[in-house]
Symmetry: C2
């Protein structure tokens, strides 16, 4: 079943100023929606780059304040990264999956498997400032959804988006690290397809496909930190993105 029988539109939310800790991004995003002349309806989809969510929540660290421990110091020599950054990566992680020169892949406390525990250099906060992932991206998405509903009277679906690499294929793609307001994993298993056959294995990550659609307007270098998708008919839900995390027992590659 198409999630947008009449198609959908993806618009960049331009004009959002640089975000700093404590900023009200719900207000900034609502202003940008208005300034971009976008008509909003319940269940339209707002995709927000993780970086501005983290910045607004104060999930930023000055590397000069970090004292690397023994494990971080040893690992930093293997992966050829700043030991203070490696200390932060380990503090955000439950497990190291791979560590080779230039690459450190861990499982974060959220359950994400990605490079550097998702910690990025900041574009705007200073040369030695890094940005951590939000502590609980689903909570961030829920709060953003609620705050925008308060401001506008409209209940949007919200995706907090990040750019992850993956095995086997070059080039990152985008994933929904936090979601609110919709079913992020479409489970059509057991439904008949268009020829009447019963489907066996179709389980699609709607959240990640939406995040990927948004990246095309947000820009590879992250210049536009949010996108608005109009016309999708996503199933409403109170669940977060937990269903997107594969149980390690079902994972053949970790």
């Amino acid at each position: 079943m198409s999630l947008a029988p009449s198609g959908y539109n993806v618009a960049p939310l331009t004009g959002i100023p640089a975000v700093h800790p404590g900023d009200n991004i719900a207000a900034l995003l609502t202003s940008a929606i208005n300034a971009n002349d976008i008509a909003i309806h319940d269940n339209d989809v707002l995709v927000v780059a993780q970086k501005i969510v983290s910045k607004s929540e104060g999930a930023v660290v000055e590397l000069s304040t970090v004292v690397p421990g023994h494990e971080a110091t040893e690992l930093s020599a293997i992966v050829n990264k700043d030991p203070r950054l490696v200390e932060l990566i380990l503090a955000s992680s439950v497990r190291v999956l791979r560590s080779v020169p230039g690459v450190l892949i861990t499982e974060t406390h959220h359950g994400f498997i990605c490079a550097n525990a998702g910690i990025d250099a900041s574009n705007s906060l200073g040369p030695d400032t890094v940005i951590l992932l939000p502590e609980d991206p689903d909570r961030s998405a829920r709060q953003l959804r609620a705050a925008i509903a308060n401001l506008t009277g409209t209940a949007l679906a919200v995706v907090i988006s990040d750019t992850f690499n993956r095995p086997w294929r070059e080039g990152s793609t985008n994933v929904g690290i936090g979601t609110a307001g919709f079913v992020p994993l479409d489970d059509s298993r057991g439904e008949p397809d268009d020829s009447g056959k019963v489907l066996h294995a179709t389980l699609v990550s709607i959240a990640d496909e939406v995040a990927s659609a948004a990246l095309l307007v947000m820009g590879v270098s992250g210049g536009v930190p949010a996108a608005f998708l109009s016309g999708l008919k996503l199933d409403a839900s109170n669940e977060g993105s937990q269903a997107l995390l594969r149980d390690p027992d079902r994972d053949l590659f970790r």
Copy 2:
């Protein structure tokens, strides 16, 4: 840099009839573009489901014609799949990565790592007919682009799309297994970002993000076999999708 500074639109190409071996899908897709009242311009993006490309090329096999060999018979007992299907999977593959009950993951001769070498049951050709991947999906994309240019005078970007699972996260996402007419891997490494910093590691799979955007209108169960994306400003190129295949030497998870 945004790939669609004014946003973009994704439309389902509805009304395409069931495809059979030998059908001219360039003509079917052009008719569907017209019937859906879509204005087309050079470099607009056509995304086509792998299944109809394979069907039109005759990449279909009746399982009753397949005699499984010794290796396929042994492996079929492990993965609990039809030994004739396993024979076809092995014939399409250069290597088995994982084989456990219910799951057989291989590297195909194209270089794709996916379940069952991308071989699917058919929706419409009969209960024991399976559909292989196109022999050379980049060639399929190039031919489709050229045939549509002949019919319409417009040179589209073309993506042949398939739905792959992946490690770590539940839910499949869509990938571009064949491309023509655009740069499928955006390499912004070394370009300054919006704050003037030089980027180090941003390499985005445009082909896969486009395929994911299209899936949202094509439908989880594959009811709509093509989508049309208007408004994207992709860089034109004669290359195919080879750059999306990670060199095994650079891959930490195979």
